[in-house]
């Protein structure tokens, strides 16, 4: 057994020393998804967001993210003294950090798995691989936030409040729970766009550039797109357009690249391919998979 594995096992044992920690790591996301998902979708609709199954699906990611962030915060902040002693005893800092991060990753994966199981039981999951990847990405991002806060803020009140603050800003004022293109919240993190059920808003070129790195992962890309497609303004008429006389007649208006099959003025949202101004997000791509109309 390598030293790294040994440390990961010991850190996990330390986390599970209070068995309630393990229980709540599973229980909290389950309760959150089962109780809150529907209400969050309703709230999103009220606030001008997309609402519906997209938000309910995102709830699993939000739950996993918060738990991963808090778990990692305590992994980091609560172990400063022990870590210092370990490095003084000769353990390479890199290996220690790796072991801590792997421990956090296992905890994050546990929370994500619990949230996904609850989501599957509650509403079902249309695209399991994509949703699982998105939920795990939420957890990993908040894992990094938890590690960062844990390294910088040792006071647990301040640390946990800071993580809660980031999380609530992200969830409540991000694009999922409100209108995607309002000015007041354009600068906020947009975790939902990473989730694989994209909600990236149309935006300016600068915004697109800012968030492109975050959203460029394979899970943020609509499956139907297959690969990145250029902004429709620059795209040539598709083969389907050539075969369809009606679409061909309207092909002078560039087609929306998000899959909603509407010829419309479009802007690149920078997250996956492009989005339609009339639908404001990439949701139609998903609706084509599920057969829903938007």
């Amino acid at each position: 057994m390598s030293t790294d594995t040994l440390f990961v096992r010991r850190f996990l044992t330390d986390y599970a020393r209070n068995p309630v920690n393990l229980l709540f790591l599973v229980l909290v996301p389950v309760v959150f998804v089962v109780v809150a998902a529907g209400s969050m979708a309703d709230a999103a609709k009220l606030l001008g967001g997309p609402g519906g199954p997209a938000v309910e699906t995102a709830t699993a990611g939000w739950a996993a993210g918060f738990l991963a962030g808090i778990a990692m915060y305590f992994q980091t902040a609560g172990s400063h003294d022990a870590d210092r002693r370990l490095t003084q005893a000769g353990l390479a800092p890199g290996r220690l950090v790796t072991a801590r991060l792997l421990t956090g990753l296992i905890l994050a994966a546990t929370a994500a798995a619990a949230a996904l199981l609850a989501l599957a039981a509650r509403t079902g999951i249309d695209q399991p691989a994509r949703v699982a990847a998105g939920t795990l990405m939420f957890a990993v991002i908040y894992l990094a936030i938890g590690a960062l806060v844990g390294a910088l803020v040792r006071n647990p009140v301040n640390g946990t409040v800071l993580i809660l603050f980031v999380w609530i800003l992200d969830v409540f004022f991000g694009p999922a729970l409100g209108s995607a293109d309002r000015l007041a919240t354009r600068a906020l993190p947009r975790t939902s766009s990473r989730s694989g059920w994209p909600m990236c808003p149309p935006g300016t070129a600068a915004e697109s550039a800012t968030w492109a790195g975050r959203c460029s992962g394979p899970s943020a890309r609509p499956r139907s797109a297959g690969r990145w497609s250029p902004p429709p303004a620059a795209a040539s008429p598709s083969r389907r357009d050539e075969a369809d006389p009606v679409r061909s007649a309207t092909s002078s208006v560039p087609a929306c690249g998000c899959g909603c099959e509407r010829p419309a003025a479009t802007r690149c949202c920078g997250c996956c391919s492009s989005s339609c101004r009339s639908c404001s997000c990439c949701w139609p791509t998903r609706s084509r998979h599920t057969g829903r109309k938007h």
Binding site: Y15, N18, V20, N21, L23, F24, L25, V28, V31, F32, V35, A36, S39, D42, A43, L46, L47, G48, F66, L67, I70, A71, F74, G78, P156, V157, N158, T160, V161, L162, L164, F165, I168, L169, F172, F173, G178, S179, R182, A184, T185
Partner: protein, 231 residues
């Protein structure tokens, strides 16, 4: 600083992001149950602050008491009487709660005009104090990590989902059994109507606060008692 910044940001952002739309709300006015239409922005402005303050109060209550444990034991050994020790710890927590509530009310006042300000402020304070005591209990019972999970989950489900007037015109049956029910009904009534009609809700809220405070004191007493005092 975070106790001050968080409510400010919440209230101002809630104001900025809510669209103007009419929503029906079930209220009690003059002893009668009435359904009135309100602008969604008005409702959101008035109800966002308590959610933020409750979460903060629960976390503050939990960590203030957990961090004070070893200090309490030393002070008890040094001769401090348990009631005085408990009272001083609870006073520190009350001060943090008062500060966060006062700041959130000051910011709320800039965007929301409550019909009965003193009662609205009291409702906010009741919610914050209740959750601060919930935090005090969560820490010793569940430990730091699980305590934080619950300090986030319970106020969120209670105030953010169950009591939210934005999601339903009146709270669902399960939400009547949550700690935030009394306080949130009081502050909604005080924020949106001209007369106070939520005496029953106020009593329920106070009963929760007193019950939880008694439980917290019983839980903390062993920590403040000089069990192994050297002779």
């Amino acid at each position: 600083v975070l106790l001050l910044i968080v409510p400010i940001v919440f209230v101002l952002l809630a104001d900025a992001v809510t669209p103007h739309r009419q929503e029906a709300l079930t209220l009690t006015e003059g002893g009668r149950t009435v359904i009135e239409q309100f602008d969604l922005t008005t409702i959101h402005r008035g109800t966002m602050a308590p959610i933020a303050v409750a979460s903060l109060a629960a976390l503050a209550g939990m960590f203030l008491m957990l961090d004070a444990r070893s200090g309490n034991q030393r002070l008890a050994l040094a001769g401090f009487r348990p009631p005085a020790l408990l009272a001083s710890r609870l006073a520190v927590m009350a001060l943090a709660v008062l500060l966060a509530t006062a700041v959130s009310l000051a910011v709320t006042a800039a965007v929301f005009d409550a019909r009965q300000w003193p009662v609205y402020a009291a409702g906010n304070l009741l919610v914050a104090a209740t959750y601060a005591v919930v935090g005090v209990i969560l820490g010793p019972v569940f430990g730091r990590v699980s305590g934080v999970f619950l300090a986030f989950l319970i106020p969120f489900l209670d105030l953010g989902i169950g009591q939210s007037p934005m999601l339903r015109s009146s709270p669902p049956a399960w939400a009547h059994w949550m700690p935030g029910y009394g306080g949130s009904r009081v502050l909604i009534d005080a924020g949106l109507t001209t007369g106070f009609d939520e005496t029953r809700a106020l009593l329920i809220g106070l009963a929760w606060l007193i019950g939880l405070a008694v439980a917290a004191i019983l839980l903390l007493r062993p920590n403040t008692a000089p069990a192994n005092r050297p002779s």
